[in-house]
């Protein structure tokens, strides 16, 4: 199976079996270890259809690992991920490949294929799965590029010729081209100027409204999380957790996160260094 599997997934106890509710994707008691380093610990998250969930937390807390675990790019050391009630660890490579056509993933640096033009990048999933002619695929590509505010003239360009914001938008167009049920965004606004960040936020909202997709976004940009999300989850690095403490520090709405009394959550939301300054020999 083409996954980065730190360990084989363990059997999950009976109470954790799939529930055919309107929950589209669920992580149930998921743990991920890389060697002796524990990155995720006992994470349980259920995302209902149509919801936009933002996963926030400081760098290194395992946000991206969680996102990749949700689509089976990383297999959990323990626990289980279920998509539409189907456990990913019970699927063979072919089933998993088929299932992934229902996901769209927008990578942090867009992860466009350097060797292809923008048109071929966006058309790639169509050509791969629907086996349609290039000309027909390009017609759909033009539509998708227009949705993310890019002109058809960028189709002939290579990714290296694009700006960071354009690359992210091409990445979004590629993720949208198969009309997925679930869109996953890995740090969609990182490295962009405030205006382009706002453009990307509006695109995410527009995409949700136009395509009725469920979205999970990993970010440490609080403005973006508050603007886009219906629900926010905050993770904390396992190394700084107390024994038996949940890695999910917060789970609630954007207004609740702003009113949170938890010191660590409030510190993150307000962007305050607090006692972390002492780690670098500050005050």
């Amino acid at each position: 199976m083409m996954v980065d599997s730190p360990h084989d997934a363990k059997e999950v106890p009976a109470p954790l079996q799939a529930e055919p509710a309107d929950c589209l994707i669920a992580a149930r008691r998921v743990a991920v270890d890389f060697g002796e380093q524990s990155v995720l610990r006992d994470i349980t998250i259920e995302t209902p259809r149509g919801q936009t969930l933002a996963i926030i937390g400081e760098s290194g807390c395992g946000k991206t690992v969680l996102l990749k675990t949700l689509i089976g790019l990383i297999m959990p050391t323990a626990g289980r991920v279920e998509f539409d009630g189907m456990p990913l660890d019970r699927m063979d490579e072919r089933e998993l490949t088929k299932l992934r056509t229902r996901f769209g993933f927008v990578f942090q640096q867009a992860a466009l294929f350097d060797s292809m033009t923008v048109a071929d990048n966006v058309a790639f999933p169509l050509r791969e799965h629907r086996r349609i002619e290039r000309a027909e695929a390009y017609e759909i590509v033009v539509q998708r590029l227009a949705e993310v505010g890019l002109p058809a003239s960028v189709m002939i360009k290579k990714p290296a010729e694009l700006s960071g914001g354009m690359r992210k938008r091409v990445g979004l167009a590629r993720a949208l081209v198969m009309e997925p049920e679930l869109l996953l965004y890995d740090e969609p606004t990182t490295g962009l100027d405030p205006i382009m960040s706002a453009v990307i936020n509006e695109l995410i909202i527009g995409t949700r409204e136009q395509h009725q997709v469920t979205s999970i976004m990993v970010t440490h940009d609080m403005r973006s999380a508050l603007r886009v999300a219906d629900r926010i989850i905050m993770l904390h690095p396992t190394a700084r957790l107390d024994e038996g403490e949940s890695q999910i520090l917060f789970d609630g709405t954007p207004s609740e996160v702003q009113a949170s009394t938890d010191k660590r959550v409030a510190q993150f939301v307000r962007g305050e260094a607090g006692e972390r300054l002492s780690e670098i020999g500050g005050r």
């Binding site: 990749k68 466009l112 198969m178």
Partner: protein
Amino acid sequence: MASQDITTSPPAASDNDRWRAINDQIADLGEVVVQTIEEIGDITIFAWRTITWLLVRWPSRDVLFSSLHQIGVRSLPVVALTGTFIGMVLAVQAYYQFRNFGMETRLGAMINLSMFRELGPVLAATMLSGRVGSAIAAELGTMRVTEQIDALTSMGANPIRYLVTPRFLACLFMIPSLTIMAIFMGVVGGAFYCIYVFDVDPYFYFNNAQQAAGAWDLFYGVFKSIFFGAAIAIISCYRGFHCAPGAEGVGRASTVAFVQSFVVILVLDLGLSIVLDRVYFFIWPGG
């Protein structure tokens, strides 16, 4: 004073230190052995998955042709050039030895036989692993580091089928042509130097060469090259797929791909030469 120092340290403690050092050495060696075995196992599984994907679905014509062009056609000039020089170097190295015995006209037999059986395939494989193998490892390594391989997987495209199988097929299909080119240019280079520089009689040169090296020798070289091509593709793709993060990781993947491919080429060369000689004597016992 020195003798006092020696006597003050208890002999039991020094023995313990020595044993601990020996134990550490053995443990380190054991770790290297275990890692090597694990890596061989991983590469074998990787090769098996590549072959099973080939049985399930071939790469698209566009992707395959692009790999054939990149790996085969663009390697031809450098293989031809190095083949020519190797043929000429063989002539230069052997001429004076052969002349001492009055056997200059036998140079063609020696050069052609060496090129057909050994130097042609090994030279083509070495050039392929240097030019193509490292490039494959660096390209796939960069794709790993920049999450392009994850992107492929996330879009439901198997990276082994999409990235490895076309490169594997291209290496497999193109290395026989490259080997034949290396052999041909080596033969031409050797003949040119012997005839035009050392004034060897062309009639006897080619007559002896024709008698010494034949169709079996050509098959011998080309057959070996197919295994070399497969090894280069698998090792290089594996190294790219398992590239460590950062520029250093990509550079290392590229270097390790070349070094490992070269070592495997030589090991395979020895093994296949022994097998093919046995096959020859089995088919033609009197030969």
